[in-house]
């Protein structure tokens, strides 16, 4: 229960639990005793923590200047033979099986004519000098439709709300396996409202999957700035409003390995105000 003082009290405890040190076990035991005794009667004081954290962050927040900012565009291509797309047999869940007229194909390696690579994540990796940007109030929606995730790859800002919706008449569980952020693993039975999550740290990428339907996976790239894009069906991307400067741009694709590390490629680019530069990537087929 996030809205309880105890959850906050236990945060240092959680950190300890992650640290493999025997000595801390003793601290933990005694701390739990104290916490247990204090109990969890008071629920009112914890909201303040959140707002306090926000006002601190607000001091260094930069804003995106769309009129003067540069635009970076480009195409991501695959060099070499595209791997065979896997056909998913959804018959294991009668609902999912019936939701598709033709056998759905795994969306982990979309390559279109001419080797255009779909679902590659391109973002400014370096060069912003630690500037952070305010998260937009609009939420990013991750839909579960016909037992697939929509979108398959997406970017989201630190502090931005991610809404996970279940449109299916079957149970999904939303399981994020995160290295930097807090992982979550929640069930979402049919008919339940959307779940909301916020990521607190930069992380490219966080895999999100459904354990009930092994074929379902999605990747979220979490960044403290809005300079990221995902390639469309034509393999093209566009990043707007980039302030003048020297940058490292990285392109990430899950590749056939289908994991968070994926394959990446970095390129350097220098942009001036109102510039428009093209940065193309070519990933090698493995």
């Amino acid at each position: 229960m996030p809205d309880c003082a105890l959850a906050n009290l236990l945060k240092p405890l959680e950190a300890m639990i992650i640290h493999p040190s025997l000595r801390q076990l003793g601290y933990m035991l005694s701390l739990t005793l104290v916490v247990g005794l204090v109990g969890c009667g008071k629920k009112d004081s914890d909201e303040e923590d959140d707002s306090g954290g926000k006002s601190d962050a607000a001091a260094t927040v930069a804003t995106v200047d769309m009129t003067n900012g540069a635009t970076i565009v480009g195409t991501v291509k695959l060099d070499g033979a595209a791997p065979v797309a896997k056909v998913i047999n959804m018959g294991g869940d009668a609902y999912c099986g019936a939701a598709h007229k033709t056998s759905p194909v795994s969306d982990d390696h979309w390559v279109n004519n001419g080797g255009a690579l779909v679902n590659a994540f391109v973002y400014v990796k370096d060069g912003l000098g630690g500037k952070t940007y305010a998260a937009p109030a609009t939420a990013i929606t991750l839909a579960q439709k016909g037992c697939t995730y929509e979108p398959h790859v997406f970017g989201i800002m630190v502090g931005q709300t991610m809404k996970v919706e279940n449109d299916d008449q079957t149970l999904h569980n939303v399981h994020s396996v995160s290295a930097a952020n807090e992982s979550f693993n929640e069930g979402q039975p049919p008919g339940t409202p959307a779940k909301e999550h916020k990521m607190t740290k930069q992380e490219v990428m966080i895999p999100i999957k459904c354990d009930v339907h092994g074929w379902m996976n999605s990747y979220a790239g979490v960044l403290p700035h809005p300079f990221f894009a995902v390639t469309g069906a034509d393999g093209k991307y566009e990043i707007k409003g980039v302030p003048a400067g020297d940058y490292t741009i990285e392109c990430w694709h899950e590749s056939t390995k289908s994991d968070a590390a994926g394959v990446t490629q970095d390129q350097k680019v220098t942009v001036a105000a109102k510039d428009s530069k093209t940065v193309d990537f070519t990933l090698k087929a493995q």
Partner: protein, 240 residues
């Protein structure tokens, strides 16, 4: 919630007995049921009769007794004999089902490695060997040939799951790091549910599969249809 249910599933007692030993397990069940029902009516009957007969009456004095050795030895010996008999009787059936030395010889094997929250099933394919290119893999869909014994090898990938097909009267935990095996000889062409009987996490209740018992012909056809696609298949072009 409630779905349209095939009528044969609407049962209020033991489900279909569809494996070679399901009938024997049911016989054992009924034997115990009759014995326990008899004891149940005996004890509860006596209790009710006593409660009525010896309800409070002013001036009556209760019988003063500290026990009766003959009686006590009798009602110790009789249950002991019955229980030992049940144990011996149960054991022969138990070892017939579970003793690895008594598994049907040359029964083909199917490997099931359940994970949260699905049944990953591997058939050895036409060459009858695991780990080769012609292995067939399915999720949650098990096909068995009617009247043919089959060995199911189980091993959990992540947590403990339990392979449970009520109609076969079979249940076996799939333990990570410890392979186990059971054998089944289905005796009816039908389709049943595979249930996970060991709590395995939040999706435990959804961890179900189907087992289809089909004829040898249909099985051969299915195996053929599952043959791996030729290696040089063209990439599929997709326009989202």
């Amino acid at each position: 919630m409630a779905q349209a249910v095939p009528p044969r599933y609407k049962h209020w007692w033991l489900p279909d007995a569809s494996s070679s030993y399901a009938g024997q397990i049911d016989d054992m069940f009924y034997l115990i049921l009759w014995i326990t029902l008899f004891v149940f009516f005996l004890v509860e009957g006596a209790l009710i009769v006593f409660l009525w007969k010896y309800r409070y009456k002013n001036g009556r004095k209760a019988i003063y007794t500290h026990g009766n050795n003959t009686l006590e030895i009798t009602w110790t010996a009789i249950p002991a004999v019955i229980l030992v008999f049940l144990a011996v009787f149960s054991n022969s059936l138990w070892s017939e089902i579970r003793d690895p030395n008594k598994f049907p010889k040359n029964a083909p094997a199917i490997q099931i490695k359940p994970r949260q929250f699905e049944w990953d099933i591997t058939y050895p394919g036409p060459d009858k060997k695991f780990g080769t290119a012609d292995d067939i893999q399915t999720i949650n869909q098990l096909f068995l040939v009617v009247n043919q014994p089959v060995q199911i090898k189980l091993e959990g990938q992540d947590v403990i799951h339990s392979f449970f097909v009520p109609e076969f009267r079979i249940k076996q935990d799939a333990v990570p790091g410890m392979p186990t095996a059971v054998w089944i000889k289905p005796i009816k062409e039908a389709q049943y549910e595979i249930a996970c009987a060991e709590l395995c996490g939040l999706g435990h209740y959804r961890m179900k599969g189907t087992v289809s018992i089909i004829s040898q012909d249909s099985m051969d056809r299915w195996v053929k249809s599952q043959a791996p696609a030729p290696a040089a298949a063209p990439a599929i072009n997709l326009t989202p």
